[in-house]
Symmetry: C2
Subunit: 125 residues, 2 copies
């Protein structure tokens, strides 16, 4: 088991999901020890949901799972990059491919990219 | 001023520095409101150092500043991607181009990449 430092962020590390083919950054989330171990064990990106205070298997509800192709660790062992294949084509719960679909342009926010799915359809009860 | 949400991480947001040409992820750091405003105002990546508890103009000591080419904001306004040009070629204080110079290979850590500078020379007093 590769040991990471969860102490600097109250039990969490930052995790960046990056498209393994294009290099596009799809999302930033957090992992606790349990999420890290689950990611290693299953090969599916698993995070810790700070709002729900529970393990979050990415795509468990939407089907938009992230298949881990490669894992990079930073110098301080307190952040990881997951190079992933994004099932369903979109990482963001808003339906966009990337959570980073807003760009600063002349001091204001401009939305970039095209929604891939309709959240109302994907997350309906 | 573009307003971000610093509440979810005790006054901080996560910031990912990505090479604006190659898409390589160079580092993950944190910003408080002051660091965010300084980044916007100066066009140089400015973070908040959690260890020093102070503003951290990246490269202030080493000369390895980060020139901001583009800023992306995530869906929740609590994380940013800085697409940057890395002065001096290396973002990591260890001398590697990227802080993410370790890869998990068969359950253990393998160092990838070649150091660009010698930290003992760059950070000598």
């Amino acid at each position: 088991m590769v040991t990471l430092n969860f102490d600097k962020l109250g039990g969490l590390i930052a995790a960046v999901a990056q498209d393994f083919r294009t290099g596009e950054i799809l999302m930033v989330a957090f992992m606790n020890q349990e999420a890290w171990e689950a990611t290693l064990a299953t090969g599916r990106a698993t995070y810790y949901s700070r709002s729900r205070k529970s393990l979050w298997v990415k795509g468990e509800t939407s089907g938009h799972t992230q298949i881990v192709k490669e894992i990079l660790i930073d110098c301080d062992n307190d952040a990881v990059v997951l190079k992933i294949e994004q099932a369903g084509g979109a990482a963001c719960h808003t339906g966009y491919r990337s959570c980073f679909h807003k760009r600063i342009q002349n001091g204001s926010i401009q939305v970039i990219g095209i929604p891939i799915f309709d959240p109302k359809e994907v997350y309906k009860k």
